[in-house]
Symmetry: C2
Subunit: 211 residues, 2 copies
DNA sequence: TCCGGTAACATTGTCGACATTCTACTGATC
DNA sequence: GATCAGTAGAATGTCGACAATGTTACCGGA
């Protein structure tokens, strides 16, 4: 029997606000009114502020003293830095998968996501499955710390994707890059996975900072 | 002119508590009494709890609902996971330094730390300079996100070092490993740095999980 | 027209108090 | 003697109110 752990109110609030940021309901640069948010969640400002502190510590919210909290705006510099960090995490995750028991099974799980992506009909769906792919990649590594760090980075990625969604087209290349990565796990080619990941990240940065 | 940003009270509190954890003033597994801590810092429980939420989000504190907050205990599993994450961050940092303007200057700054380490006379001083070395390594990469992620990991490392300090001896090998890494930057040998870092991490895990 | 000052407003930062929950001790029963 | 119900105490979780700060609109003077 493992001890059951109940989530604290601040952590629930943090996740809800994180989703709102990721979905674009709280657009980049917008201010978060404490009183209003507290009303919406049906709690007082105390627990709400505690929840927002978490996101501030992650860098998702910017705090300006006596002024308030603002959703981070992903400038070109920040996008580049985010991908440096994402590359660090995902390369390490990939390595852990290859070192683990069953890299083939992991690769197959990733392929499932790729197949869904291939069948997706809207740019938005492709974007969401893109996130799902990378989330699962890191989850499969089984490292709590890599997962925690990655959560922040994926949220920032979603902000970027959401911002540039209208300019995207339904490109096969986006699906194929992911397919190659998944297959490299099944093939057990560790060095190949690494190269593909690096190339994938480089592509993404170029797409996102070009605009 | 860059906008001057004042630290918020919760963030100051978080840093103070983090230092207390790193120094061992708050030992692993111990409970943090909110009322007592608030008295010590001269604030009410509100801002204090907000500060502690940050550390909880980082995983440095474990929250058990209606019971309180406890300093994380570094089990063998957690030590291994921590080093997976540290390796991810520091390898990426090293790569960024090599890709940057002046890897040689960076290497020399790291060598300064190594020289201090060579002259240190107590195990405690060596341990602190060990932390300084890795902190500077990531700082020199100039990536805010890598630095933020690393901060948590270094604090956990300090918990481990502090716990095993009595069993350590003044070994030259610990200094020499760092020296080699620093020199590899000056020599501009990117692949060598990477190999040395991986080996260094592997050594550390073995030392820490052996006990 | 533009600049400086002022006052009202809105928002954040902080605090003290109450409600709820858990822990530990006591005492009764089998 | 062991187990369990009951209770007192202490700690956390939550809230509403006050204080401090920043913003904005308005007004007067150069």
């Amino acid at each position: 029997m493992e001890p059951l752990l109940q989530e604290s109110t601040p952590s629930i609030i943090a996740e809800r606000v994180r989703q709102a940021i990721a979905k674009g309901d709280l657009p980049p640069g917008s201010q978060l009114g404490e009183a209003e948010l507290a009303r919406e969640f049906g709690v007082s400002r105390g627990p709400l502020r505690e929840g927002l502190q978490r996101l501030t510590a992650e860098g998702l919210l910017i705090s300006i003293r006596n002024r308030g909290l603002f959703v981070i705006e992903m400038t070109a510099d920040r996008v580049r830095d985010m991908y440096v960090a994402r590359q660090a995490v995902e390369r390490a995750a990939a390595e852990q998968i290859h070192l683990g028991d069953d890299a083939t099974a992991a690769g197959r799980q990733l392929l499932d996501v790729v197949e869904e992506m291939a069948e997706a009909k809207t740019v938005r769906d492709v974007g969401e499955l893109d996130i799902t792919f990378h989330d699962r990649l890191v989850t499969l590594a089984g490292s709590p710390r890599l997962s925690r760090m990655h959560l922040t980075l994926l949220t920032e990625t979603q902000i970027c994707i959401r911002a540039l969604e209208p300019t995207y087209a339904l490109e096969d290349v986006r699906v194929e890059e992911h397919r190659e990565i998944a297959q490299s796990f099944i093939a057990g080619k560790r060095a190949l996975t690494d190269r593909l990941l690096v190339a994938h990240m480089k592509d993404a940065v170029r797409r996102l900072t070009r605009g």
